[in-house]
């Protein structure tokens, strides 16, 4: 599903993003990306989304070499990837339902399909009652559920989450983790960057640890350590 081959990314100021990274994440896997701030977790995710270009090496997602992808194809690439972020990235002046509907509108889905799918997915994340609220009127945990709903409403084959529980208290985090786990069980590959030690240790999934832009550990059913 995701394949990094000899990927190196430097930033303009000489900061290292990633250094010679080789990793392969299979379809349907659930993997954690752990490490301190600045270890390269976000760089990793932004390379997958083709928000950044590597200086060396190739990134392949869903069988497509991103370095050979034309710019006009990038939006279509991103539609196959659901994203969840630490800061939710919801549109503040749109209702919960409209936020979720937006990613369906983008793919030119007919209005009828949108009317059907949006309530469905919001029920699934437990926000059926708050469809017409604005994001501001929701708690942080609820906002993150909206963002998960938006990421998954297209049923993408890959879901990446950049510290989705970073702003949430432990109990709420568990709820989000459960959601991600359920999504993974539908066959969606899930890659989650985090430094939530407790969560990683509890899940016992694959753990890829980064430090200074290099992979220092990659083990199945791993621990945060």
């Amino acid at each position: 599903m995701i394949k990094f081959e000899n990927v190196t990314k430097h930033y303009d100021m000489g900061n290292v993003g990633l250094q010679d990274v080789n990793v392969h994440i299979e379809r349907g896997e659930f993997a954690f990306l752990v490490g301190h701030s600045g270890s390269g977790k976000s760089t990793f995710i932004r390379l997958i989304l083709k928000e950044l270009e590597p200086n060396e090496g190739t990134v392949t997602v869903a069988g497509r070499n991103l370095q050979r992808m034309r710019r006009s194809a990038v939006p279509y690439h991103r539609r196959n990837i659901g994203c969840v972020f630490q800061d939710f990235k919801l549109l503040p002046n749109k209702t919960v339902a409209d936020n979720v509907a937006y990613s369906l509108r983008v793919t030119n889905q007919p209005a009828r399909a949108i009317r059907r799918k949006v309530p469905e997915i919001l029920q699934l994340v437990g926000l059926g009652e708050k469809m017409n609220n604005l994001p501001d009127e929701l708690s942080a945990g609820e906002q993150q559920r909206v963002s998960v709903a938006r990421a998954f409403v297209n049923h993408p084959s890959l879901l990446v989450a950049d510290e989705p529980t970073g702003n949430l208290d432990p109990d709420t985090s568990v709820g989000i983790m459960q959601l991600l786990y359920r999504i993974n069980r539908t066959g969606t590959t899930v890659l989650m960057a985090t430094h939530d030690r407790e969560m990683v240790d509890k899940m016992r999934k694959r753990v890829i640890a980064l430090e200074g832009g290099r992979i220092i550990r990659d083990e199945d059913k791993g621990l945060y350590r």
């Binding site: 710019r71 939006p75 279509y76 994203c83 990235k89 937006y102 990613s103 983008v106 793919t107």
Partner: protein
């Protein structure tokens, strides 16, 4: 295309930033209004010039000493010239009659004269007024033309050169001036709309980032803003079109009643409206397109 969605997005944004929207609408209004006025002026002036140029003719005065044969021969020569549309012979008697007519009651002066001092002449109208100078020059050296010795250009040939050239030069300059003024104003409105929309985009750059992350194509993001620009342009231009029509009616009525000799043209209102409103739409679309370029780099 999800036109309904784009439409509502555009309208919402228009109302949310209504102060800047009004500013942009007014700029478009002013520049499109002036564009319309220039069009009307152009239309009228062009007609006046055409009228004037069509009236331009060459008068060739003939010496009293010329024989009838010489006069006839000259007439035939003129007739044979390919540039000539019509030629008319004014005899000495007709010239006198015309003068009598133009003097009206003050004919004493003619009665006081013995004989008829007025020369006969040929009046020549051309197919293309541009040729007037070239044709006129052919008569400068003709021995039967009534030139005052030493006059330069010869005064036996009249072709209104100075007047027509001056009128032409003046009107051309006027039109060039007005047109460049309108062009400047149009550029100003494109920039202002671009700035208005840039502000609204800047306030929503996070939104655009999100749109791109969920896989919106550039055109999907662009459409609402381009529509917003077009609405702004069309609104301004519509008001401008109404004002143009109203002021055209007012002025042409005034001129018809008070300056009778100036022929006022009926402008093709439909075309003008189409051009003005179309111009507004283009200005708006350009403005928003420019504003977005910076934000849509992948």
């Amino acid at each position: 295309m999800q036109f309904k969605f784009f439409f509502s997005e555009a309208v919402n944004s228009l109302f949310k930033n209504w102060v800047m929207s009004v500013a942009a609408i007014v700029t478009v209004l002013v520049s499109m209004f002036l564009l319309g006025i220039v069009m009307i002026l152009y239309f009228n002036v062009e007609d006046v010039i055409k009228d004037l140029r069509d009236k331009l003719e060459i008068e060739v005065f003939i010496k009293n000493t010329a024989t009838q044969d010489e006069i006839n021969q000259l007439g035939e020569e003129i007739q044979a010239m390919p540039e000539v549309k019509t030629v008319y012979f004014v005899s000495k008697e007709e010239a006198l009659d015309r003068m009598r007519e133009s003097l009206g009651e003050n004919t004493d002066i003619l009665d006081a004269m013995s004989g008829n001092p007025l020369p006969a002449s040929y009046e020549i109208a051309l197919k293309d007024p541009e040729d007037i100078r070239m044709v006129a020059e052919r008569f400068f050296d003709n021995p039967i033309v009534d030139n005052t010795p030493g006059s330069d250009p010869p005064d036996g040939v009249k072709y209104g050169a100075e007047t027509s050239e001056r009128v032409l030069r003046f009107t051309t300059m006027l039109l060039i001036g007005l047109t460049s003024f309108v062009a400047l104003l149009t550029v100003a409105s494109v920039l202002l709309i671009s700035n208005t929309i840039r502000l609204s985009i800047f306030a929503r750059r996070r939104e655009i980032e999100i749109m791109r992350l969920v896989g919106a194509t550039n055109w999907f993001i662009r459409w609402p803003y381009v529509l917003e620009g077009i609405f702004t342009g069309v609104m301004g231009a519509t008001v401008a079109a109404v004002l143009i029509i109203l002021s055209n009616n007012m002025f042409s009525n005034y001129i018809r009643e008070n300056i009778v000799w100036l022929a006022v043209q009926d402008i093709p209102i439909l075309w003008m409206t189409v051009i003005v409103i179309g111009g507004g739409a283009i200005v708006g679309a350009l403005g928003s397109g420019m504003a977005l370029r910076r934000f849509l780099k992948v």
